[in-house]
């Protein structure tokens, strides 16, 4: 059983044989071809490529950080760093008894505000519907926004959240990661904030490097001494 990770570019034949194609691969005859630049992984009978570049494509249930761009009398539009705009209906914030005359949308969210939101629904025909009616969701009042490439979000989280835990523990910062590549860092101490931001940027730059968690750990600790 080969379980080798390989660096691939579009058009590369990853392997041949009876495998199930998953993310970013296509089946051509019996050849399995990558459609993205990334790292190929073979699990049991399925093959996927973890992309290293590309825009964020909304997926249902993803947590994203959005920025309010504008609003109509019935809904807000969020920039979610994707090719589509997030659609946040007013009922979601005001509740069922929302009335377009009585309630003023800008009293709750103004353009420029950052929100943590969840993709409630998304299909090919309409813009993604987002919701902020849940725990941990809603307007973000404080913190720093760090933008990374959306394809590197899984790397920032790490296997079972190891990477992000490492950073949070070493700096004491609270980090909210949006699947769309926007990350909000808030921290009591300015040093911790700077360090956490630096660590996040380091992950973004060196996403393809093996045992990155150790390198990040090393960086966080070395800075602590100096």
């Amino acid at each position: 059983m080969e379980n080798k990770r390989k660096y691939v570019i579009p058009g590369d034949v990853i392997t041949t044989g009876p495998y199930r194609p998953e993310q970013n691969v296509i089946l051509d005859g019996n050849k399995i071809i990558s459609t993205a630049i990334g790292i190929s992984e073979i699990y049991d009978d399925s093959i996927k490529v973890i992309p290293l570049t590309g825009k964020y494509i909304p997926k249902i249930d993803d947590l994203v950080i959005g920025k309010v761009v504008s609003h109509t009398s019935l809904s807000w539009e969020l920039d979610i760093n994707s090719c589509y705009v997030g659609f946040l209906p007013a009922q979601d914030v005001f509740g069922r008894d929302f009335s377009a005359h009585a309630d003023e949308l800008s009293s709750k969210l103004k353009s420029g505000d950052l929100v943590a939101a969840r993709i409630a629904n998304f299909d090919r025909t309409r813009d993604p519907l987002v919701t902020i009616a849940d725990r941990d969701l809603g307007k973000i009042d404080s913190g720093h926004l760090v933008k990374i490439s959306p394809s590197k979000v899984p790397r920032l989280i790490g296997k079972r959240g190891t990477m992000i835990q490492t950073i949070e523990m070493a700096t004491g910062a609270a980090i909210t990661i949006g699947q769309n590549g926007w990350v909000v860092v808030s921290c009591e101490t300015p040093e911790g904030l700077l360090k956490a931001k630096k660590a996040i940027q380091m992950v973004d730059e060196k996403a393809h490097v093996a045992n990155l968690t150790d390198q990040v750990k090393e960086m966080l600790e070395s800075k602590g001494e100096s």
């Binding site: 290293l52 590309g54 090719c83 589509y84 393809h208 490097v209």
Partner: protein, 244 residues
């Protein structure tokens, strides 16, 4: 462009061409992925004396809105030559030739990109020719394909392109400006190396069926050389030199 040099020897008795190459030797090619910060993906190519930079945006909102397609994303390509790219100043307004090349490059890339994943969006490819020396459409197509991959647009395969042609009654690889002007035929070919499919094939000139066949084969051979360099450019950018 200038007048034709009548004393030019396209192929000497030793089989050496006017710029010192052998018949089946391409020009020096250098491809670099990335380089532009504000574009989603970019590439730079030097193909002999051709210098071309490509920027890719998208997938993104379509403006004007009526151009969007609810079933699939659309690909838009602009090929543009700088006024200083040729010896005599070129009017920067899009010429008939540039409109044609924009169209053929778009159609050569379309089989490779999988835009059905992004309905109602557009991918824009901007090609700027900084210096031209024959064979810009092939060089531009090769660079555009690298830039699309750099932008993370899902692609079935890379598209590599190279021209073949006929000069002094011999089939040659990678036609340069002199050979294009004074030669007998020029055939740009776009090719998907893994899928083994041709996406662009044009022919300017007259060839016998046998020559035609040989010309296509020669061109595909050139495409494979270009493909290796495209691969190298992307590998260098994304994986450093740490080959796994």
């Amino acid at each position: 462009m200038g007048g034709r040099d009548t004393t030019l020897v396209l192929l000497d008795e030793n089989g050496i061409r006017c710029d010192g190459r052998k018949v089946d030797e391409p020009r020096r090619i250098m491809i670099k992925a990335g380089g532009l910060k504000n574009a989603d993906g970019s590439a730079y190519i030097e193909f002999g004396d051709n210098k071309i930079i490509v920027g890719v945006f998208g997938p993104r909102d379509v403006h004007p809105k009526h151009m969007s397609n609810t079933d699939t994303g659309i690909l838009r390509v602009r090929y543009h030559m700088e006024p200083f790219s040729v010896t005599e100043r070129k009017n920067p307004a899009p010429s008939r030739r540039e409109i044609e090349i924009s169209k053929v490059i778009k159609e050569a890339l379309e089989p490779a990109v999988m835009l059905d994943k992004f309905p109602r969006t557009a991918v824009d490819v901007f090609i700027e020719v900084l210096q031209a020396d024959g064979g810009t459409r092939c060089a531009a197509l090769s660079a555009a394909s690298v830039a699309l991959a750099d932008a993370g647009i899902p692609m079935r395969d890379m598209v590599a392109a190279c021209a073949a042609g006929k000069a002094a009654d011999t089939i040659i690889l990678d036609v340069n400006n002199e050979e294009d002007q004074a030669g007998q035929a020029d055939m740009p070919i776009g090719y998907m190396p893994s899928l083994e499919k041709i996406t662009l094939l044009q022919l300017d000139g007259v060839l016998t069926p046998a020559e035609y066949k040989k010309c296509v084969e020669t061109g595909i051979h050139g495409c494979k050389i270009v493909y290796e360099l495209q691969k190298k450019a992307l590998t260098e950018k994304y994986f450093g030199n740490g080959e796994k």
